[in-house]
Amino acid sequence: MSSTIVAIATGPATGAVGIVRLSGPAAVDAVAAITRGLPSPPTPRFAHRVTVVAADGAALDDGLCLVFPAPRSLTGETVVELQLHGSPRLLALVQARLLEHPTVRLADPGEFTRRAWVNGKVDLTRAQAVAALVEARSERAVRAAAAALGGATASRLGGLERALRALHAEVEAALEFPQDVEDHELTVAPRLAALRADAEALATAAGAGALLSREPAVVLYGPVNAGKSTLFNALLGEERALVDPSPGTTRDVLEARVEWQGLGLQLKDTAGLRDGAQALEARGIARGRAALDEAALAVCVVPAGAARAPWEAEVLAERRLDVASKSDLHAEGPGLRVHQHDGKGLEALRRAIVARLAPTADLGVLLSDRQRASLEQLRAHLGAAAEAERLSTLEVVAGELALASAALAELTGTGAGRDVLDEVFARFCIGK
């Protein structure tokens, strides 16, 4: 990895300050070639005042230059930061000047972090957290990414890995050294149960984490004229949907992004459901049903006192939240009641929606789709191990634990790692 990479580190919009960052062995040379005022050698981690010049020698900008020599830097390579004025055009010019250096090239997306990972500066979960933090759109997503960056995910996976290794080693020790480890010394069932509980908790946390990277859709649906669009506007706090007392006003699916209690989500308003709608309205209803199918949560809005059963039947209960609208119509009634005009019950509804989507305060663990698939494999093999523990033999338990370990190794992005036999020899007094 002898090439040096460069990228504009700040966002594409105009700002007060813009940063161009380089990493690699030629970083200092490349900057020295296009600036005046950088001493040779530069003082590490010191803000040097420099002037960036164009090819014809004309000054382009004044700014600060910081040099972080390898290996004490973000990437583990020599890193140089140029802090200039935040003009996108200026920053592009400076970047182009730096690319004139023969060994400098444009960084690939995420390449600074990848180099940090390769050089042992961050582990895989922290490297992923950097990307998640950059992409975070809601407060919860920021907090979850920050926790992962702080090592929370790494320590959680590490704990699972240690427990699985220890159990696998115990079982293998018994199988390989039957005269040294006897059945009554084994503690497979309780340890397996604890492992399964941990994996289950991790899956729940990963589900919560998934909500942060792919913000869930919450769809308002129900009969025509239930006041869904009025509720939609009230929840948003702005007049997005046209509202009218005549039934079938909403035709298309309306969407808006909201952030409640730090959780970002897509709120959708749909056409009221009814039979015998005319062509355009019928197409709107079809779109509404499609949105409903993909919803993380469907909010069934029916006026207080009206029959709910036919509308509730549209969506299974575990994906559905029932709300009675126009709560002034009927004084009594079960469940959530809102009055979309005077705002009564709105905050309770927001809380109920967040509570259903993110039932625990656990921010969640950010895993990729591939990692979640490996987690499912892990859980399947732990489940099979538990079943074998009851119904079959220890060697089948051992086989499932080996497969579980392989799945966990995929999940953590490490190799098969230490041989289980190393673990056996380290933990058990065996052999004659």
Binding site: R114, G415, G431
Partner: protein
């Protein structure tokens, strides 16, 4: 100069199998040994088999080897290990009459008309143009051969330690081989150094057996397919168990400074699974006692082998700690325990046939290759001898797949990964453990032995007939829709109404195949999934690992030496830390578009998918 087709150097457990395999192919074999009376001596414990080792013996037997048969003839006591922990880890261990075992093996050698045993020391290997041509004996005599199998065990540059005393020798009472190491080096092989040890031998009549827990034998069952159960002699020996005490551990701790191991006088690396008692006491201080198995060396032998007290402490300390053990208060020691250091040849220098990469026709087998154990040695001996013989005959070699035999896993681990301690086989080394059982070795390997020429046609026919009976029973179960009934825990074949009448071992096979079908299918599916994603991604063929920046010299060396071909290969490598592994993969799989010379391509030279055929069917 005298001529032979194949010369076998050394007649321990590897050498005997190698010499027999070549002779059974009809070749002229000269087997050179230091002392003919020491042929096939059991130099450590008097037992054949055990976990994974029993599997190797059964596999060896199915291929046409001799070890199982000798153990049947010499057996005095027998146990089934892991009896309740599953059919694939269930393992046979046969205690033998040490002298009877050697006699049985010597008898087998004598029965081969084309096998000649020569007493002498091989001082050098002769070669010409990168090919071995024969051997030179210390006497000055030279012998020519088309292939040479070297199985010198722990005898190369061997040094024995009892406490601070050192003496040259490969085994108590035997000399060391001194010339051959230099000869192997001259041929371009590198050698490493290992150590191993053996416990003291106790006088049987000095043990208070009444204070120990007796361990009677199970009923004898044949190890070998060639043994008729009806002819097996009854058990003749009862073993016993006793334990060390706090007093034992105190004696050991007080005298650690006199152990050559703790003193650093022994530099070779010893096996972790066979620690000395002083080592166990230091590493596991929380264990209040350690178990000893007292194993008589034969029905009439005055000696007892105490398994569990391997030591290299000085003789006076050995006697003191032994006498703190229950039942051994008045024990007399016939021979004290000792450690031996010896040269071994790192087996990554070998092809999968156990032929040296650097020298054509030169095969190495047994403890010389850095392994430990009679069974590991014997399996290598058979394969090395067989492949040497096949090469002489111009026939293709026999290389078994990892899914076919634990012995194949053993050989693959040796030549692919090498060894960093004396290598012992464990069933967990195999990713196919559930299908590599003692019970089905016959159907996994008999056909290979027959094709290679080691198994007689009549024996092969018998195996086929037995398999036909198993298949008929499986067919009956399927037709009667009784498979799911048999899969229930605790249900046996003979519990089913109208069940076919099968001998016990075949009924066991039917039950296991049916009960394990689901688990085996699931394990195969999981492995397929992994191999699809990882083994399908080939690394560039011209990969130069030395160029990977940031990789430690050690990791570069490992990768260069082992030459992984796919992402899966790299992941399975041992001795690479996770960061090095990721670094290696990232570099190897850099996209080509970046103007770099390498690029991993999906399916460029994909490893052929491992056969997903159930080896039982």
């Amino acid at each position: 100069m005298d001529r032979a087709d194949v010369i076998v150097v050394g007649l321990g457990h590897a050498g005997c199998e190698a010499a027999l395999a070549c002779a059974r192919l009809g070749l002229d074999v000269v087997a050179v040994t230091l002392k003919a009376e020491r042929i096939a001596v059991m130099s450590c414990n008097p037992a054949i088999g055990g976990t994974a080792k029993g599997h190797l013996v059964r596999e060896l037997d199915a291929l046409g080897g001799e070890m199982a048969r000798a153990a049947d003839l010499a057996g005095t006591h027998q146990v089934t290990l892991n009896a309740s922990r599953g059919p694939a880890v269930r393992a046979t261990r046969v205690l033998c009459d040490r002298d009877a075992y050697a006699r049985a093996m010597q008898g087998a050698l004598a029965a081969e008309p084309t096998l000649h045993v020569l007493e002498g020391e091989v001082a050098a290997l002769l070669s010409e143009g990168g090919r071995v041509t024969g051997v030179a004996l210390a006497s000055g005599q030279q012998l020519a051969a088309r292939a040479v199998v070297v199985t010198t065990g722990t005898f190369l540059q061997a040094l024995m330690h009892v406490g601070a005393e050192q003496s040259v020798g490969g085994r108590l009472g035997d000399a060391a081989a001194t010339g051959l190491s230099a000869s192997l080096r001259a041929l371009g092989l590198t050698l490493g150094r290992f150590k191993t040890g053996t416990p003291p031998r106790l006088r049987r009549d000095s043990i208070d057996w009444a204070r120990c827990t007796p361990q009677p034998s199970e009923a004898r069952r044949p190890f070998s397919l060639r043994t008729d159960a009806a002819t097996l002699p009854a058990p003749t020996v009862t073993c016993a168990i006793t334990h060390t005490s706090a007093a034992t551990h105190a004696v050991l701790r007080e005298n650690l400074h006199r152990s050559p191991l703790f003193q650093g006088a022994i530099t070779g690396r010893g096996p972790r699974y066979c620690p000395s008692l002083e080592d166990k006491v230091v590493r596991f201080p929380e264990k209040g006692r350690h178990t000893l198995f007292l194993e008589p060396e034969g029905p009439n032998s005055p000696l007892v082998y105490p398994a569990g007290v391997s030591t290299s402490l000085p003789a006076d300390v050995q006697l003191r700690f032994l006498r703190t053990i229950v039942g051994l208060e008045a024990v007399e020691v016939e021979r004290f325990g000792y450690a031996v250091e010896y040269d071994f040849a790192p087996p990554t220098q070998l092809r999968p046939t156990l032929e040296c990469k650097a020298v054509g026709g030169l095969f190495l087998a047994g403890q010389l290759n850095g392994t430990s154990g009679y069974e590991e040695a014997a399996f290598q001996g058979l394969l090395a001898g067989l492949n040497a013989g096949l090469q002489v005959r111009g026939a293709p070699p026999l290389v078994l797949g990892r899914h076919e035999a634990h012995g194949a896993v053993l050989l693959d681990e040796l030549v692919t990964h090498g060894v960093d301690e004396p290598f012992r086989m464990f069933t967990s080394r195999s990713e196919h453990r559930l299908t590599l059982r003692e019970g089905n070795a016959e159907w996994r390997l008999r056909a290979h032995g027959h094709r290679a020429g080691l198994v007689k046609a009549a024996e092969h026919q018998r195996t086929l007939a037995r398999r036909a009976r198993v298949d008929a029973a499986l067919g009956w179960l399927s037709a009667a829709r009784l498979e799911s009934t048999l899969q229930r825990p605790g249900v046996r074949l003979h519990d089913l109404p109208g069940h076919p009448d099968l001998p016990g071992d075949l009924a066991d096979e039917v039950e296991t195949e049916v009960k394990y079908r689901g688990y085996v299918a699931m394990a195969l599916a999981s492995r397929d999934r992994l191999s699809r994603t990882e083994d399908a991604v080939a690394l560039p063929e011209d990969m130069v690992w030395a160029e990977v920046p940031g990789l430690s010299a050690e990791s570069r060396e490992t990768l260069t030496r082992l030459g992984p071909r796919t992402v899966g290969d790299v992941r399975r490598l041992r001795g690479l830390d996770p960061a090095a592994l990721e670094l290696a993969l990232l570099y190897a799989l850099r996209p080509v578009s970046r103007g770099t010379p390498h690029g991993g391509k999906l399916g460029k030279t994909p490893r052929p998918p491992e056969s997903s055929t159930n080896p039982e069917s």
